[in-house]
Each structure stands twice: as C-alpha cells, then as structure tokens.
C-alpha cells in the first residue's frame, strides 16, 4: 500500500550554545575548510506513515513534534511530508 514519509528536522534554537557544532566547526577548520563560519548539529527523524492524507498527516506530525520529537524550550522543528511510491 502506498504511504507517506515525514522528514522531521529538529535543530537547536539560535540562542542555544551548541558545543557539538563548535567541535565540528573546529575540526573543519583544522582540515583547512576556513570558509566555514559556523556549524550547528541537529537531527533528522524519518517517519513512515500510513494513509495518503497529507494535510492530516502534517497536523499529526506537528503534534508529534510538540509532544515528543522536539523540546521546544531549546529546539525548533520543521517537517516535510512526502508521498511514497
């Protein structure tokens, strides 16, 4: 059966210090990639969804983000819903 896929991107809010991103930045500089101004590390969560109602799925994924997938005190989220074939 055809389903959908949700790609959920969870990132730290700009005001939040990201030590992991800083470590990546320093490593890139050490490798000679001086053009990198900043690095922030986030998460990509892939969800396989049943059904084909993209709008309905989007609303439910937003609720999943608010409830569990992101901690909105420190993180922002955005998502895409893709049709799977």
């Amino acid at each position: 059966m055809k389903g959908m896929k949700a790609l959920v991107y969870v990132t730290l809010k700009p005001s939040v210090l990201d030590p992991q991103g800083k470590a990546v930045l320093h490593a890139l500089h050490a490798l000679g990639y001086e053009e990198v101004g900043d690095a922030r590390v986030g998460k990509l969560i892939e969800l396989s969804l049943t059904g084909q109602d993209k709008d309905g799925a989007g609303k439910r994924v937003a609720r999943m983000c608010e409830t569990l997938l992101a901690n909105t005190v420190i993180e922002s989220y955005r998502y895409e819903i893709l049709e799977e074939r």
Binding site: P19, L68, V73
Partner: protein
Amino acid sequence: MTAAPGAPAPRSGAAMRTAVVVFPGSNSDHEAWHVVRNVLGQPAERVWHKETALDKFDVVILPGGFAHGDYLRAGAIARFSPIMSAVEKHASRGGVVLGICNGFQVLTEAGLLPGALMRNKDIAFISRDVWLRVENEKTRLTMACRRGEVLRTPIAHGEGRYVGDPALLDGLEKEGRVLFRYCGPDGALDDRFNVNGSERAIAGIVNEQGNVFGLMPHPERDAEPVVGLGQGRRLFESLLASFREAA
C-alpha cells in the same frame, strides 16, 4: 542542627514513605533507596516505571541513570512512562518529588520543572566531585543546611548544562528557587568551577510551589563517611526534617 555523620538515624516522629522510580536504564535507584532506608531509617521501595499509583508515598525520587537509553533527548522518553501520570498527580497534591541527575532531566522534559538540560559546554561526560553552594536554606530539601554552605558532591553527566531564557532565570533567582550553584571549595563563583557551563552556574532548582526539586549532582552517592565526606546526607535529612516539622 544535623546528627554527626554516621550516627544512627532517629526513628521517632513521622515516617517518610519514599518511592524510588526505576526506569529501564536507571542506575542510581539502589543508592537512593539505600540512603533513605538504611541511612535515614525510613520506609523506601523501588517502584517499576510501569506502575501507575504512588498514593501511599510521601516522597517520590526519580533517580540518576540513562532512562530508556537517553534516546532522542535525556528524559524525553521516560517522561511518557506510565508512572509519570502518578508522579504528576503526586506533585499536584503537594507531595515531594526529587529528581537527581537523569531524574532532573525527566522533570524538565515533563514540564514539572522549567528550563532544560543540555550537552555540557566541553561535550565531555564529567564524573568527579564538585562543590555546591547552598543558595536557599529555607526549602524542604535544604533546611538542614546553612545559606552559603559548601557541599562536596559527586556529579556524573554528559548533559547537565542548565539553560533557560533570561526572564526564567531572573524569576528563579528572585523567587529563591535556585537552590545550588557550582562553586569553588570556599564558595566562590568562577567559570572554572561551573564545570558543565550551566547558566548562572545553576546546579539545582525547585518549582514555584516548593515541592518539586531537581539537581544534577548526586547527593545519594556520598551520604555516608564510608564513601566520602557524606555531605549528601544533609539533603535527605532536610526532607525528613520537613516531615517532622509538618507532623
């Protein structure tokens, strides 16, 4: 004010019936249970996270560890364990809740305490003793301490950097809800003692109602002279004294 370290805990007065919640991945539950039961001499039980009732307890401890593997974010999955509805109910009826380390992370994820705990500023997992300055000695967790007193206590965490927006932090300070700060051996505040980079060196807080406590350090791991200075005992004695006072 407090008994000498190692002295047998007094058994008179009101009991402090304590539940220590055990999540899959908890690792300090036994220490917390031991301190309440064998150091304080109070009834204590370990309660599996699938349980749904905490009605017979006065104090609920969420212990340290890596509940549910710390997957997604520390505490993010644990906050939906079946026991957490009972923890919220216990808190809302005024029962004492104490979150230690991972337990503190669970309480912030659950919204029972404000702010969040993030990756330490230098990324490394830190396991060592630190000094804590008691900032408010008028709470149920600190009443056996003096204001400004310095307690040496172990920490063991990778995600203990307390953060919150400036309005929250100002509010916590103004309302006396910052209980402990990382400090030097003499109580001085300095960035080099703020080992995980917490905002305003905050190591422990209390909720607005004064019954839900969270701290990153592990008082239960050093509550007897046999394992160190035993200063963590003061916090457990405070809780017990708060019940005696109420009785």
